[in-house]
């Protein structure tokens, strides 16, 4: 009797590991040992953790990324920041080692000597310099290490996404395995998540079909939803434009970084199309929940593919679109 009760409560709370295996769900240990550990070389990690290096190699490989206005790497540079900015009126300042959107300052306009933030608040040049000092001192970097600040051109969101995000950048995360796009999602911030795109803080994750770029389903707090909690927009109507280019861009990040298992964060600029925002060498597992599918069957199919290094980027993307799509219609 007691044993039965225990077993039934266990079944209520925990999934059966065998079922999870048959669904191909990937766990943290599996990811760390068999994918990150095996396909991501340790010496390549700085390329990803340092946004300046990411940008450097992206430009070298002609991967579209927000263009760099300037780099502030020491106190002398801070004094010259207005000269560095030149005529740019809108820009974005971010720490090279920042994580989770910390320390990002977005300026949308300049009025006389002051700078206007996206919230409409005006800050002085002195405030701007203080923010840069904080970045250099490592206030926003992991472990408080001294950091450098990047000044980038501002991204103008594609209008198709208006209403899908409460605040902040709606970005597309594509997991790329050995150059093949494997699984995609969009992360939309909500009031709950405080404008951040972290799923466990309450952001909405929308699984995206690899073949079509259309929403598969949307999830908040692990539960499926249909409408955006703040804007009431139907999330299942979401379709990422320029989908082929997004996938190609994501795919090219493998050739450029050499990392076998990465998460690429891509934003869509109104004028310039898909742009690489940053790379992540330890992409999370929640993408499986958004897509209602396990990662492992897809990864294993690619692992089993012989001569995959002979395939061109277009062929790899086409392969992924054919095999990992949910909807059958073409683009």
């Amino acid at each position: 009797m007691i044993l039965d009760a225990i077993i039934s409560t266990l079944k209520e709370r925990y999934a059966s590991p065998f079922e999870m295996v048959s669904d191909g769900i990937m766990g943290m240990n599996q990811r760390n040992v068999n994918y990150i550990g095996r396909y991501n070389k340790r010496n390549l990690f700085p390329l990803v953790d340092n946004k300046l290096l990411t940008k450097d190699i992206a430009m070298k490989h002609k991967v579209n990324t927000p263009s760099l206005i300037g780099v502030v790497s020491n106190q002398q540079d801070i004094k010259k920041v207005v000269t560095t900015l030149g005529t740019h009126t809108e820009f974005c300042i971010k720490p090279a080692h920042g994580s989770g959107g910390k320390g990002i300052l977005v300026i949308k306009d300049r009025l006389n000597d002051s700078f206007i933030k996206t919230s409409g608040q005006a800050i002085s040049e002195h405030d701007l310099q203080r923010h840069l000092t904080n970045i250099l001192a490592g206030l926003f970097s992991l472990g408080g290490k001294a950091d450098i600040a990047l000044i980038e051109e501002l991204i103008h969101f594609d209008n198709v996404f208006s209403g899908y995000s409460y605040d902040g950048v709606p970005d597309t995360r594509v997991i790329v395995f050995q150059g093949f796009p494997v699984m995609c999602m969009m992360r939309l911030s909500t009031k709950d998540s405080d404008g951040k795109a972290n799923l466990h803080q309450g952001a909405v994750g929308v699984g995206i079909c690899v073949r079509t770029g259309r929403a598969v389903r949307a999830v908040q707090h692990n539960e499926p939803i249909h409408l955006h909690p703040d804007t009431d927009k139907n999330l299942l109507e979401l379709k990422v434009p320029h989908w082929l280019e997004v996938l190609k861009l994501a795919s090219s990040c493998y050739d450029m970084s050499g990392l076998g298992y990465i998460g690429t964060d891509i934003v869509l600029d109104r004028d310039k199309g898909p742009m690489l925002l940053e790379l992540n060498a330890r992409p999370g597992l929640a993408i499986q929940i958004c897509n209602n599918a396990g990662l492992l069957p897809r990864l294993r199919l690619i692992e089993a593919l012989t001569k995959k290094h002979r395939l061109t980027l277009e062929e790899r993307v086409a392969f992924s679109m054919q095999h990992f799509g949910i909807y059958k219609d073409s683009l």
Binding site: M20, N29, K102, N222, E223, Q288, A304, E315
Partner: protein, 560 residues
Amino acid sequence: MVSRGLFYFVTAALFLAGILLVAYQKITFDVPFTPNVKNHVWTVEARVEFEPVIGQTTEVLLSLPAIQPGFTQLEQITASLGYGVSYVSRDGSNYVYWTKRNPHGLQTLYYKADMLRDNEAIASSMTVPPLSENVEPEPYATALREIATIAMEHSADPYSFATQVINEISEKNETTALLLSKYKKSELIVTILNLGSVHARTIGVLNLNERRNQKLTSKVAVFKNNEYKIFDPDDGHTGLKKNQLIWIDNDNALLDIKGGTNAQVSFTTLHQSVSAISTGIRKAKLNMASGSEMPTFSLSALPVEEQNLFQNVLLLPIGVLIVVFLRIIIGIKTSGTFMPVLIAMSFLQTSLIVGLIGFISIVGVGLIVRSWLSHLNLLLVARISAVIITVIAIIGFISFFTYKIGLTEGVKVTFFPMIILSWTIERMSILWEEEGYKEVLKQGGGSLFVAVCAYLSMSSIYIQHLTFNFLGLQLILLSLVLLMGNYTGFRLSELKRFRPLCIQINEENQGEKEADRLKNELKELKSDPHNVYRKWKQDAHKDILDHLENSEDKSKEQPK
């Protein structure tokens, strides 16, 4: 990347080496697996006193304790001022041999031996004595034969014969009175037994009972083929008690002295309870050929202070193993990887309840102070330093306050690792700002849970005993950690996390599951890699062409 095969080989080798090392220590030094196993060691001291004959050289020959089942001799020393000492072995018996040329006055010589009560000892130096020829004068010979005949009639084998002989002698009548006036009782029994063709001899037995000035008591060993039983000549009881040590098991005298008179030997016995570990090592040393040193792989050779230090250090791997298990297999989140182990180490000093209360209050107050510090926008190093000083202040306050109100236990909070606590506060504070208090409670609670688990295992006296005495255990722990580092299965927490996903995959994909489709494709690919690859590549090309056409169509449409 190291191949899996090599990895498993190394892990297995480490595991095996650990097991072997443990087995070596268990077998060679007899280190017990459980703590507080005591062995009984009897220190027996023989004191020889005599008056030397002036002008003569003195030679003293003292029999040493016999080799016997139930006892192992650990050490022996002599104390004899100005005497030459040597141990000699003669006819399978051992003696100590003291010599001096010109002794004056009353001489006292000491011989001391540590005898370990040892159930594994089975060797014996007892030999079967020859039958002595009966050359007794009359009327004793007749009396002896008479008793032998009666006893023989009433007995079946040597042992019952001996019992009957003892019975007959114990009866008080003319015959026994006659015989006992000439012979000592034990000698008498041996003589009669020999008449009945039974091998027997008298032996000297020492009672081990913490008394001074004891003498050996005589017993009779009766042989049946190669076995023997020991009989008490007074009451006929057989066998020896646990605290009876055979000192002489041959027909030689206890003491043989030349150049001395009025010699006598007295014994003092002293009981000691000694830890099984040290007697094991002493015993093993004894078994070795002299001169070569046997590696003990034990830390009991170190000074006591260093031993205590090592005892704690050797416990760390146990804590680490628990952290690895709880993080990799269970999936508990902790703040700081090995912080819980260090907290558990300080729990060992403070006791659990005091430690928990201390930890929670220090971290709680620290977080409040830290939240104020974060308003000041300080740089990291300065901020941590401020937190460290705060932590020290809190610890100081707690110990002072609790001491004042009479709780001396509270003073022990000073055992907490202050730097580690400061970093914990710093990390938790950042976590609070970034992820909210829920995450702080989750990780803080997780850390405490891990710390308590680590504490419970490290505070067990069994585990402390095992880690300290069996260094091979460390290798086993290492191999276990390596093995867990290779675990790619799910964590328990993931079974919970992905449960909704699991249910939804089954609900929504009523028809064909994606996982099954891809598995079939994988099978297809593996069965014929070359052709399937070509086919898929062609499909991909078709799609690429389609896309091109589409985009061309679009670009044509757009100008309109």
